[in-house]
Symmetry: C2
Subunit: 456 residues, 2 copies
């Protein structure tokens, strides 16, 4: 066999215990927060019929879809009939079209799942990554918009990411801005892209880019003056208010702000230059930033046009998405965790020095497990030194020795690996000793279904 490249495919990762456990904890925290707000979990297949995905992501996105070859007699055709899901929104739209009135109305679902995009891989940019979406399909009141924002903020706070700023804007207010400064509609999207960079490049930078993009000098000067004002938001808002559609947007923003109770977890601000996916969103939009970062960690808005794409009727919808991969990087850094690192390790590594000891060691291990202690029985054979090195490598808290001497006296020897402290004690006292040293409440042991709350 010729040598095979055994690294994970470009843009994908092998996830080791520390990664998997961090992800699992993080997902569980987010799920809890979403469920507290009445969102329900949904899962959809990893792949969809090709025609479900095509024509949904623009020309650029279309290139990034992983297509799956037809099988059997059609394999030779080189044609694809399926494709890996590219996001979680199109699958939601398909589910809404498929199950319709069988779903609760409104349908509040969340989905935390892998998506695949054949993007050029880079630092923090993967071809397989986890998306985390909540959406309310069929919710046409501002309560829906507020609920999505509150659930997102709650999830971030539950992850320890408080001090978040929620930047609010509205599609109509953006339209009003373009009109109020006399920018031609054809240049609107381009101008908003430039304006969205205000925080990064400042008023001068925005003005330069607006000129480059062909916006007339008068409009650029007026915008530059307002962006340079003592209170740029107030200056922009005053101007937007001169346009009827702009006023509609401003009123909606104010109404939405009034619905967001101050839970202390986030500050909500109106950001009149926030411009997210103009062709996508139809009403309020939001973006969450965190002081520790110069990028958004969550975003969303109302997109009434999309969820109904597979049906006959439009479906009002509002959604939000957590930037989970970015958040996981922050959390891993906070915990000083290295990529590819090991998990917390078992409570006990039980050594087996002589094959004749094995049955007895396995029985002792079974007893400890029943008391809620995790025990890894060494399966590699070899000398004590090698087995203790393995216990260290695995991050075990204790090594257990149960040789002929211990068996004869009905005892076990426990070595705490961090301190080297060694204790020989009666076999039936080992579980209590370990639970005590491991800081577990005593007396609990295994509960009825054989699991223990401590190892959960």
């Amino acid at each position: 066999m010729p040598p095979v490249d055994v690294s994970p495919p470009s843009g994908t990762r092998d996830l080791f215990p520390a990664d998997v456990l961090l992800r699992r904890r993080t997902f569980a925290t987010v799920q809890d927060a979403f469920e507290r707000h009445g969102f329900e979990p949904l899962d959809t297949p990893a792949f969809e019929r090709l025609e479900v995905l095509t024509g949904k992501y623009g020309e650029e996105g279309e290139q990034l879809i992983f297509r799956i070859l037809r099988r059997g007699e059609h394999a030779a055709s080189g044609e694809a009939d399926l494709a890996l899901r590219y996001d979680l929104t199109v699958p939601l739209a398909r589910v809404v079209a498929r199950y319709g009135s069988q779903l609760p109305q409104p349908f509040k679902r969340y989905q935390i799942a892998s998506v695949w995009r054949a993007d050029r891989p880079g630092r923090g940019r993967f071809r397989e990554f986890t998306q985390c979406d909540i959406d309310i399909a069929g919710g046409d009141t501002l309560v829906a918009d507020a609920t999505v924002i509150l659930a997102v903020v709650d999830a971030l706070a539950a992850l320890g990411l408080d001090g978040v700023t929620v930047h609010l804007n509205d599609r109509d207010a953006l339209h009003g801005l373009v009109a109020a400064y006399g920018i031609p509609e054809a240049l609107g999207a381009s101008a908003l892209t430039a304006l969205d960079k205000l925080a990064k490049v400042g008023a001068d930078g925005v003005a330069a880019e607006l000129r480059e993009r062909g916006v007339a000098a008068g409009a650029v000067d007026a915008l530059h003056a307002d962006l340079s004002a003592a209170d740029p938001t107030a200056a922009l808002v005053a101007r937007i208010g001169t346009d009827a559609r702009g006023r509609t947007g401003l009123e909606r923003i104010a109404a939405l702000q009034a619905l967001l109770p101050d839970t202390g977890a986030a500050r909500v601000v109106h950001d009149p230059v926030l411009a997210r996916g103009l062709g996508y969103y139809t009403g309020p939009v939001f973006e969450c930033t965190h002081p520790a970062l110069d990028a958004s960690i969550a975003a969303g808005g109302r997109y009434d046009g999309l969820i109904g794409m597979f049906g006959d009727e439009p479906v009002p919808a509002v959604g939000g998405s957590l930037g989970l991969e970015r958040i996981l990087l922050i959390l891993a850094e906070q915990q000083g965790q290295e990529a590819g690192g090991q998990g917390p390790g078992p409570d006990v590594l039980a050594t087996v020095l002589d094959p004749d000891d094995a049955a007895d060691v396995l029985a002792v291990a079974a007893g400890l497990r029943a008391a809620g202690v995790s025990v890894d029985v060494y399966a590699g054979g070899g000398r004590m030194k090698k087995q203790l090195r393995h216990a260290d490598r695995r991050g075990a808290r204790f090594a257990l020795v149960r040789g002929a001497d211990e068996r004869a006296t009905g005892s076990v020897t426990l070595k705490e690996l961090a301190t080297g402290e060694q204790t020989t004690l009666p076999e039936d006292a080992a579980a209590r000793f370990l639970r005590d040293r491991l800081g577990r409440a005593d007396g609990a042991g295994a509960d009825a279904d054989g699991t223990t709350s401590e190892t959960a």
Copy 2:
């Protein structure tokens, strides 16, 4: 746009809340059991380089691999360069080859993840399904074999599937059986396939099939006599013991049985006709059956040849696999759960009768959530009757009304949906009342990180 087929692709499923939550609980229980035995989680990409998967599953399996088309300028070639993972064993072999000595030795990992096979879909047979594997790579002692079996049995017991029978056999004992009855080696695998059906078709059925498969009359008669004996196992074992390699296998089975402490969760029996994947396993093999079923719910064995396939050196390995999809069907039936059913629903559905009430209702909801009560604020608008119907549909325990009257008197009205009982009480007493009625320990409220143990 022409109408698009919005059902999930053939052989795949949309999973609704009740399914997702059952899966999540089941996976967590299994993970706990595996971790108590010192296994660590690993996750690998959904797809692998095509050459990693090809040549591993035989001609038949090869046809079932989902291949992914090359992208960009190569898209038109119709060639594949990636493929969806077909099992979790080949990815493990790749990981062992890739990270080698950076991994603990032995490397005990589990993986619960989707795999994809382009099989003909059928009842309970899917093209996307979850596999659940534990393996010990680099463990060459019988402690490794015992550990895999103990962890599997523990996981089944933790799921409430006790009363399991573990059927044990060994590759060398099977070889000895074939030799001892004078069956030519070329017919060995075929004869063992027939023998494996003993429980289903009886001694006569096995004899007929052996004859059909070309086994000589003398061997068939001898086997038929032993299979019809009062204790067929004893009769077969006596005969297997006449062959040297057969004796080696029998001794290994006895040694392994001696390592399996009686935890009360399972009965371990030697099953001399159990024949699992002869070309795959190299030592002990096992299969777990449950009285409620006529099929295996877990299986595994030692397969020393495979994990080293991508490296220069052989890697001893032993593994086990839970039939999770089958187990999930049993658990769902036990719980009287319908496929596509809803989840447990929120504790409270908060009604919003007048848009002017919304800010106040959202604030009340936020307060209840902080006390560990899940609250779904109705986002659809409309009359009370419609909102209460939705509360029923969602399986909410209580509906909350907070209109102008309640606001004026600082109270909330709570309606228990099952009984219709309606209670109006001071706003600050609502959380305690709900926690009491929901059967939650009092006084806890939200803990430091904003989650509550009750909703976890």
